[in-house]
């Protein structure tokens, strides 16, 4: 058995994990373990920007950012944590710049900002440029910059080691178990503090913007160790994914003036969000697209609408909206400017659609994008054991796998990058501080036993079922019945299908019997994670008899603050039974109001 000892272990090397590792390693012996090379992490695919009220282009305030985030969350976000994040946003962006991040610049050399959905001037209600960007590869630049800083500071990495279990001793985190992909060997990482930063689980759904790696490893692992998952019913469908492929087309396209057009050539968002139109928040726009399609107004009768960023379209609607440049002149764009501001979007459309967005509209449909729910934490990244907010000593989570909750029922664009920078940092600081005052708990007799048993079961199954078939069936039913619109009947069906698939999953066996890079074995284990999380998601959703943010029920179309202004906490016992408990939302300044855009 390979046993390593570090004071702090970070699991995952995306934005949150790198930020946590960078900060923890300043004062504690730290290692970052990742199943991917760090620069392969999904943070790199974030496009449009990171939100902070710098006010570089127009007047803006962290208080406005806070309110917009609360409203965007459909009042389910915890307001103390949201205020903390939006206030920390400003120094966090300057810190990234000081680390060398190549933000785009304003003419006077400051960080450039663009409008994004749901971010508004709280006085006029109009969109405000708050998204700090580096072309349409902001996430790429954040990931690269943080990795570079980790190299500069000699942070220790275990690349292509996949964490498969959390070691708990007397209710405290004591390390993790990982498989080294190159050898197939188990490694035990003995630690005082463990930070999960493993990202999302969008691979549950058929059409998704998420990477293959997004299989919910962190939440699945902590759930198996008896810890709760918060608000799993809230999963965001981004309005603009490339038709059929789900590849993300940034909201920045609409920030630059792009509009959504239905099969009749109408700019339909005027009906659904008269004030901010195409820059309403994501849940609102995804539902609008779905309704247009359902009422027969998709393009050519198909399941898609157009996202149009051709200069003539942008300029026409900017003039109708009276959009102005900071100097007061009318807002206009040229084809070259579109190409300069959105080079990757132009490239994706050319490669995957054979469409040039400067001269043709893009066919898009909503795509499964972001987990608002996850491992419950407080605003310092400390993981929580129950609905009373009891802290799990030594365990932390940050980024998409965590639920602070700053996104509530619906996340605003640009707030995920902000979330991982701010809470990654605080999780790292807190974990290191905790480690300084704690001893290594003695490891249990067979620390890798629980993980080894899971893999033995998979290797020794009877092989009568095919993993690919099970995955396809799960993705389809989850997209159809657990997607943008939900109903009791549909969700019951999804739950039955997922439970049936979990039974069939027990018969899946890899044909690859080797040890070296046995990706088939790892992918089967990951499918098990997705199935477990799909079940928790569906059970959580069925219980919530209201519509709020990303959870939209046709049989309960209204928000119900009297009964449902609360967070779901789902617990799974050793027999796999799911129990739901609830905890109140933290409300400080903003009483829930009707949410319109």
């Amino acid at each position: 058995m390979n046993i390593h000892q570090y004071e702090v272990i970070v699991v995952g090397a995306g934005g949150a994990g790198l930020m946590a590792g960078l900060y923890a390693s300043k004062s504690a012996k730290t290692a970052i373990i990742s199943k991917l090379y760090p620069t392969r992490s999904h943070t790199g695919t974030a496009q449009g920007g990171i939100g902070a009220a710098l006010g570089n282009v127009e007047e803006d305030h962290p208080e406005w950012h806070t309110f917009d985030t609360v409203k965007g969350s459909d009042y389910l976000g915890d307001q103390d944590a949201i205020e903390f994040m939006c206030t920390e946003a400003v120094p966090a962006i300057y810190e990234l710049e000081h680390m060398g991040l190549p933000f785009d610049r304003t003419p006077d050399g400051r960080i450039a900002q663009r409008p994004f959905g749901g971010h508004t001037n709280n006085v006029t209600g109009k969109p405000v440029p708050r998204a700090c960007h580096a072309a349409d590869r902001t996430g790429h630049m954040i990931l690269q910059t943080l990795y570079q800083q980790c190299l500069k500071n000699n942070v220790t990495f275990f690349d292509e080691f996949q964490v498969v279990d959390l070691i708990m001793v007397d209710g405290k985190a004591a390390g993790v178990v990982a498989i080294e992909l190159a050898t197939g060997e188990f490694h035990v990482f003995h630690a005082k503090a463990v930070i999960f930063a493993t990202g999302g689980h969008g691979r549950i759904w058929e059409i998704t913007s998420n990477a293959y790696a997004f299989t919910g490893d962190g939440p699945a692992i902590t759930m198996r160790r008896g810890l709760p998952l918060e608000d799993m019913e809230f999963f965001q469908f981004h309005p603009t994914g490339i038709y059929k492929l789900g590849i993300l087309i940034t909201e920045g396209v609409r920030g630059e003036g792009g509009v959504l057009i239905n099969g009749l050539g109408e700019r339909f968002m005027e009906k659904y969000a008269p004030k901010v139109k195409d820059l309403a928040s994501r849940d609102v726009i995804s539902r609008a697209i779905y309704m247009e399609i359902r009422e027969g107004r998709g393009v050519n009768g198909q399941n898609y609408v157009y996202l149009d960023v051709r200069p003539e379209t942008v300029n026409k609607y900017a003039a109708l909206d009276g959009r102005k440049n900071p100097d007061g002149s009318p807002y206009t764009v040229t084809g070259e400017q579109i190409l300069a501001k959105l080079p990757d979007i132009v490239d994706f459309c050319r490669v995957y659609l054979g469409v040039d967005p400067v001269t043709q509209p893009m066919p898009i449909q909503p795509t499964a994008h972001y987990a608002m729910g996850g491992i419950p934490t407080n605003k310092y990244g400390e993981a929580l054991a129950d609905e009373k907010n009891t802290v799990v000593p030594g365990l932390y989570a940050a980024g998409e796998c965590a639920c602070v909750s700053v996104h509530g029922a619906n996340r605003l664009g640009t707030n995920s990058l902000l979330d991982l920078v701010v809470f990654g940092k605080y999780a790292g600081l807190r974990a290191a501080e905790y480690a300084k005052g704690a001893d290594f708990a003695p490891l249990p007799d067979d620390p890798a036993g629980f993980a080894r048993a899971q893999f033995e079961r998979i290797r020794n199954a009877d092989g009568t079922e095919n993993a690919f078939d099970i995955a396809v069936t799960m993705k389809k039913v989850m997209f159809d019945d657990m997607g943008i619109f939900r109903s009791g009947k549909g969700m019951e069906n999804a739950l039955n299908v997922v439970r049936e698939l979990k039974e069939r999953f027990k018969h899946v066996r890899p044909t690859d019997t080797g040890s070296i890079f046995n990706m088939e074995l790892m992918n089967i284990w990951e499918l098990g994670n997705l199935l477990d999380l799909a079940e928790v998601t569906t059970v959580s959703a069925l219980a919530r008899t209201e519509s709020r943010g990303g959870h939209s029920r046709e049989d309960y179309p209204d928000r119900d603050d009297k009964n449902w202004l609360k967070h779901t906490m789902a617990f799974v016992d050793e027999q796999g039974r799911i129990a739901l408990k609830y905890k109140p939302v933290v409300i400080t300044k903003f009483e829930p109001k009707v949410r319109t855009y």
């Binding site: 392969r40 293959y212 690919f468 890079f517």
Partner: protein, 233 residues
């Protein structure tokens, strides 16, 4: 349409030497080569091993030689390469299993050029100012995703994996031409060493291979020019 995939296979736990296996499957012209590999793995041969993650050309995991060209499998469509497709690992790095190669020498070279921002002045309260023109100066080389398509297409790298290679030069360029950075001279010294830019013979393989369309040969040319003139312009 039916597609024939001829795939390089090597399992160090079973095979004495590599071989090619052929798979036939149904596809449409907009399928990515990565989609085909996934289908082969899902239904025909689960032992087929390769790296992949984002599946749309950003994470850089799935660099492969497809019909002889270094490409990302997720950014190469059937309509780009036809219905007879040969898939092999990228060259110049040790094959570990099937399409998976040992990336360590590649990342070691990357780390040698000090690919991190260096400015030892105390930072201002807000951002360091930078003009849009100065930002544009190194824009192209900020696009690098470290997929290794460029470096493993370079004959000089095939000759020796000690050669820093195009990807390392691209990342050196990204900092050398950033006017906020203060370590250009040190990095230029590194790229001027024996295994540095002098071994670039301007064959343009790297530029052709880059899935991000970075003008790599031009960037290397700018490094060479800076070494000759001592001027960063």
């Amino acid at each position: 349409m039916e597609v024939t995939l001829k795939i390089f296979r090597y399992n160090p736990e079973k095979d004495k030497k590599p071989s090619y296996k052929t798979y036939k499957l149904e596809a449409v012209e907009t399928d990515r080569v990565l989609d085909l590999l996934e289908k082969v793995k899902g239904y025909q041969d689960g032992t087929l091993s390769f790296r992949r993650s984002c599946a749309h050309g950003i994470c850089g995991s799935d660099a492969m030689r497809i019909n002889g060209m270094n490409r990302l499998a997720c950014k190469t469509l059937v309509r780009d390469v036809g219905t007879r497709i040969t898939v092999e690992p990228i060259l110049g790095l040790r094959v570990i299993k099937d399409l998976i190669v040992d990336m360590e020498p590649f990342f070691d070279n990357y780390k040698k050029v000090m690919p991190w921002f260096i400015n030892n002045d105390p930072p201002p309260e807000k951002e360091r100012l930078q003009s849009p023109e100065a930002r544009l100066r190194f824009d192209d080389t900020t696009k690098c995703i470290l997929c290794a398509c460029c470096t493993t297409s370079c004959p000089s790298f095939w000759g020796s994996d000690e050669y820093l290679g195009p990807a390392a030069f691209v990342n050196a360029h990204r900092f050398i031409f950033d006017d906020r950075d203060q370590a250009a001279a040190e990095r230029l010294k590194i790229v001027n060493e024996v295994m540095g830019v002098s071994r670039c013979h301007t064959v343009f393989n790297c530029t052709l291979a880059c899935p991000r369309e970075i003008q790599i040969t031009k960037a290397i040319g700018e490094l060479k020019m800076a070494l000759v003139t001592g001027v960063l312009s």
